[in-house]
Amino acid sequence: MKGSNEPVFWSLFGAGGVLSALIGPVLILITGIAVPLGFLLPEDTLSHANVLAFVQHPLGKLALLTVIALFLFHGCHRMLHSLHDLGFRTGTRAAFGFYGFATLGTVMTALLLLIW
């Protein structure tokens, strides 16, 4: 008998949950509020040169891929299960759609990071 694939997705959900619980708020604050407004951090913190240097460094690539992939898998897993709570009959097709979306985003991020 084939085992359930739930543990794999739950692990990614859990890892994304921990990562977003630890640094989700500060990342949103930095990239979405502080830098655009130039408060707490100067506006050129996310300048083209700075961000280019970040994605050219192996650790920068690893950090960005980890954040995007785990946030996507955490979010998609939770949305899939919330649909059930809202009364939608989610089956294999919905699971395929949500996890497929997270996988696609992860692959796109990895491919983009390979450019530099």
Partner: protein, 131 residues
């Protein structure tokens, strides 16, 4: 689905708005809502990466979009919801653990302290590296 339509009318309990009747379930749904914003935030970052790969002009356009009221509003809501997710994540942690030899509230406080410490570290490190 079967080719034979059942003629029996089975009662299906209506699901719309069930969670609005109890503050506990409202908080639960707010927490679940954080997932939508976390996913969208990951897509904002992915879009930034794609723009960076495309051209310096595209990257400048992405940064310009971040400095709009719509984007700022989205990020403020995302910040609040993900901060709430953070709180609930650490609150659930001791409940999933086996019997602990110490006060379970220490796990909650430890998690929140780790989050605050890491956040401060990232802010200071970023300020120091780019200054």
């Amino acid at each position: 689905m079967s080719r034979f339509q059942s003629t029996a009318k089975t009662y299906i309990r209506p699901m719309s708005g069930w969670w609005l009747k109890n503050p506990y379930f409202i908080r639960y749904m707010i927490r679940e809502g954080s997932a939508v914003f976390l996913t969208l935030y990951a897509l904002v970052l992915l879009a930034g990466l794609a723009c960076l790969a495309w051209s310096p002009e595209a990257y400048a356009a992405w940064r310009g979009l971040l400095d709009t009221p719509l984007s700022l509003g989205f990020h403020v809501i995302a910040l609040l919801l993900v901060a709430y997710h953070s709180l609930t994540w650490f609150q659930v942690m001791p409940k999933t653990a086996p019997k602990l030899p110490f006060d379970p509230r220490l796990i909650v406080r430890g998690g929140l302290a780790a989050s605050a410490g890491l956040s401060l570290l990232i802010l200071v490190l970023l300020w120091w590296v780019t200054r």
